[in-house]
């Protein structure tokens, strides 16, 4: 991060924003007691967001403040130890939960009381995590009664915040383990117990009855039994169960497990887009969404191309500068394609309409009969009857600009299932994930390759949280995992291939694209599915993550 004070304008420019530049601009201006016009934030490229990056951290105030006080540019350079010590930590929750279930497996009630560690003080996203946990614990099932309660406790650890699939990675473990435990005690098939309790297709929109951050949790669309059937078939669940029964090498023990989950996407309520078309046929898309390495530029250019009707190659997406883009909410909570995409779609359609209306008058033809190209607008089937863009854009000073603001108060709810097949080595505590598969319905897919990238990257992060990543502290509160030698991120050796089934059976009614965000479904139930598979392998009940080798060996009773 670099901050520079401009005494001539009495303004400060900060490079290095990510995720939410406009939100942070507002916070910084408030803290400085300045007008927002005196503060400019510029986003820089980052390799990923991961959930913890980009919130308003203490240095986001201190560095601009130092630059203003000294009148000199001030840079913030953080080494890995400082980063691991001070970046938002997450996922420390302790749940006490119960479910009531009939002998035939029908769910009657669910109660949960949990503690959430928010660290030494409450940062910007300190309450986001437990709020998501308590409101989304019910998952994809019908519960005649649910009561959730939590206390967020302050401790002497690093403050808490979001980490990909925040609050849900935790509660998916809680709920999906509870379901497996219930099935085992009742002697029922865990998959069938899930099936008979899934919310039916006819029940959508389905009001869970909880609130997240003031938004009612109303599942917008879904066909949960259909996805289950498709996934069982596509991933050959019967074959996985047969594999489980075959003898494993040496002392290895085999287990299989699934985790069904509902994700959430959006909102932060609104997003901004502006499309500018010049005489040469170049299109510039200004968006309030930002890039955290997820490929949002590609997706928004695709949306613009298909709704404006000009070639993808002519479209440039610009983002992340609070001076050239008047407003924006950024990229978090799997929202950029949903809200940013819908705004770009709205602006693209409006621009096209304006252009074709003007051309229709010139050409004395119906707008529906016109074709837009980078050269101009012509009549379909009669390319010589063309009015060039320069003529059409002259009244607009050579550049036609159209803005759109897409507003949506409700959350979208993609849903999915994770499947895990593992071999556990009681002699070392190692867990070998032999197969992992993700079924995910996101309403509609804009770009299949980026969709796969989200799932595989999310899965890698899920493997980290399930098997490796842990911020340990000693008794005096010293952080022990202060380098990448001790804070163990998964590498390519630890992340097996992930099989995927992406479906589009339940488009979202909340936006014209029908999309739901796809950023977190690769992570959401990795812990749940692997914990279920390990419990199955060892005949024990896993109740804690990460599954370090020592914990696995203890569970195995070796």
């Amino acid at each position: 991060m670099l901050a520079e004070y401009d005494p001539r304008r009495n303004s400060v420019t900060v490079w290095g924003a990510a995720k939410i530049p406009h939100v942070n601009k507002k916070i910084l201006a408030q803290l400085l007691g300045w007008n927002e016009e005196q503060v400019r934030l510029i986003e820089l490229h980052v390799g990923g967001g991961f959930g913890a990056r980009g919130e308003f951290y203490p240095e986001d105030f201190l560095i601009p403040f130092a630059a203003i006080r000294t009148g000199k540019p001030v840079a913030w350079v953080e080494d890995r130890e400082e980063n691991l010590r001070a970046t938002n930590h997450s996922r420390e929750q302790v749940h006490r939960c119960r479910m009531a279930v009939k002998k035939n497996g029908t769910f009657l009630a669910l109660t949960d009381t949990f503690l959430n560690n928010t660290g030494a003080y409450v940062r910007t996203h300190g309450m986001t995590v437990p709020g998501l946990s308590v409101s989304m614990l019910p998952g994809p099932y019908r519960w005649p009664a649910y009561r959730g309660e939590y206390r967020s406790v302050v401790t002497n650890k690093t403050p808490g915040g979001t980490y990909r699939s925040p609050g849900r990675f935790e509660i998916n473990l809680v709920r999906e383990r509870l379901v497996d435990i219930a099935a085992r005690r009742l002697g029922l098939d865990p998959v069938e117990v899930r099936r008979i309790n899934l919310i039916g297709r006819e029940s959508f929109p389905h009001d869970v009855g909880t609130l997240y951050d003031g938004h009612p949790v109303i599942y917008d669309s879904g066909d949960y039994p259909l996805l289950l059937d498709k996934a069982l078939k596509s991933f050959d669940w019967e074959g996985m169960k047969r594999w489980r029964e075959e003898p494993a090498a040496g002392a290895l023990k085999r287990g299989v497990g699934i985790g069904y989950f509902v994700e959430k996407a959006g909102p932060a309520e609104r997003e901004y887009a502006r499309i500018e078309l010049n005489e040469k046929g170049d299109v510039f898309v200004y968006t309030g969404s930002v890039s955290v390495g997820q490929g949002v530029e590609t997706v928004l250019a695709q949306v613009c191309a298909s709704h404006l009707g000009l070639p993808y190659e002519r479209i440039t997406v610009l983002h992340g500068d609070t001076e050239t883009i008047p407003e924006g909410m950024g990229a978090f909570g799997s929202r950029a394609t949903m809200l940013g995409g819908a705004a770009v779609m709205g602006a693209s359609e409006a621009l096209r309409e304006q252009l074709l209306d003007a051309a229709a008058e010139e050409l004395e033809a119906a707008p529906a009969d016109l074709v837009l190209t980078p050269e101009g607008v012509s009549v379909a089937g009669a390319p010589s009857r063309m009015v060039p863009l320069s003529t059409l854009l002259k009244p607009h000073g050579g550049v036609l600009k159209v803005e759109d603001r897409f507003v949506c108060d409700l959350l979208g709810f993609p849903y999915g299932i994770h499947f895990a097949a593992v071999e556990v080595d009681p002699g070392s505590g190692a867990i070998h994930v032999r197969r992992f598969a993700v079924a995910y319905d996101v309403g509609r897919v804009v770009n299949p390759m980026l969709m796969e990238g989200q799932i595989s990257g999310g899965f890698a992060q899920g493997i980290g949280g399930t098997l490796l990543e842990e911020f340990s502290f000693d008794a005096s509160g010293q952080p022990l995992a202060a380098s990448f030698m001790d804070y163990l991120l998964p590498t390519s050796e630890e992340v097996p291939d992930v099989e995927m089934l992406v479906t589009e059976d339940a488009p979202s009614p909340l936006n014209p694209l029908g999309v739901k965000g796809a950023g977190e479904g690769g992570t959401a139930a990795v812990g749940a599915a692997i914990a279920n598979a390990v419990s199955d392998a060892l005949g024990v009940e896993v109740t804690r993550l990460p599954l370090s080798p020592q914990r696995v060996m203890e569970l195995a009773g070796a």
């Binding site: 890995r80 130890e81 002699g427 001790d486 163990l488 370090s548 080798p549 020592q550």
Partner: protein, 291 residues
């Protein structure tokens, strides 16, 4: 993540290096492949005032037969041992052990002498040399001496090398016919420091009885640990599951490995037992394949 200030020399000959070591002694550290020393300096856990970089001294690198023994120069890179035909023919345990060292980038730069002189109790090569009863050839301006592995390794990151001494080469005795070798370890991630591991050598007679067993454990104590009692238990016995299990129990009986965030001492003892058992089993199978 940047080192403290240091002086730097890169002598071209062993004599020049020994001159510098004699002059600066414990102010300086010898820089070989730098795969352990440089990270320690970047974390400022090590702050040597001077580095003697021996990468230019070509005579220190190389693998050659000396009589029936193998001689490995201190500056020989891990990758060259891993891929050596000489090693594969006579001392395959060394290549197997090096397969567990870090990642290929680390093995391309890391050296045999560096690993030995650094004396990390979790390192692979010290345990491999312990089970093979290797000797270490050392020089200083005061003269030359040779130490057995058990005299050389003293404690965690501590050897018998005096501040003015330089490790020149490692001498590995020949492996007799009818020998099975195995190196096993477990780490949380590929290439991480071992939570526990075992280097095993067994000689099996024609009648299937074990003539001699050697077991060296890594991450088991302050230095490589030879499980002498377990070795003695196996002498003269058939290497069946009962004998191997009993020897594995014995091998870890008095071990007190250090606890850390990746595993308690108790966990590590159990893991070492598993590693000993698996190492013995594999070595016995390989010996049986040879006889």
């Amino acid at each position: 993540m940047k080192p403290a200030l240091f002086e730097y020399d890169d002598p071209a000959t062993v004599d020049a290096a020994l001159d510098l070591l004699a002059r600066y002694g414990d102010e300086c550290k010898v820089l070989a492949g730098g795969q352990s020393l440089v990270p320690l300096m970047n974390f400022r856990l090590a702050r040597p005032g001077r580095l003697i970089d021996i990468n230019r001294i070509d005579s220190l690198a190389g693998i050659k037969r000396e009589g029936r023994s193998l001689s490995i120069g201190a500056m020989t890179r891990h990758v060259d041992v891993e891929r050596s035909e000489e090693v594969a023919r006579g001392w395959p345990l060394l290549a197997e052990a090096i397969g567990w060292v870090g990642h290929s980038q680390i093995r391309n730069r890391g050296t045999v002498g560096g690993s030995v002189a650094h004396a990390d109790p979790a390192a692979e090569l010290p345990a491999a040399f312990a089970v093979l009863d290797a000797k270490f050839h050392i020089q200083s301006k005061r003269g030359a001496r040779t130490l057995g592995w058990d005299q050389f390794f003293v404690a965690e990151f501590t050897t018998s090398l005096a501040p003015d001494e330089l490790l020149i080469s490692v001498e590995v005795p020949p492996i007799e016919a009818g020998t099975g070798l195995a190196f096993v370890e477990y780490a949380r991630r590929h290439g991480d420091f071992a939570l526990g591991g075992a280097a095993v050598m067994v000689n099996v007679a024609r009648d299937g009885r074990c003539e001699k067993a050697s077991i060296a454990l890594l991450s088991a104590g302050p230095a490589p640990v030879r499980a002498r009692n377990a070795e003695a238990m196996l002498a003269g016995r058939k290497l069946d599951e009962a004998a191997i299990g009993a020897a594995a129990d014995e091998a870890v009986r008095d071990l007190h490995p250090t606890s850390d965030l990746h595993g308690s001492s108790e966990y590590r003892v159990k893991l070492l037992r598993t590693m000993t058992e698996r190492g013995l089993r594999t070595a016995a199978e390989r010996a049986a394949g040879k006889t």
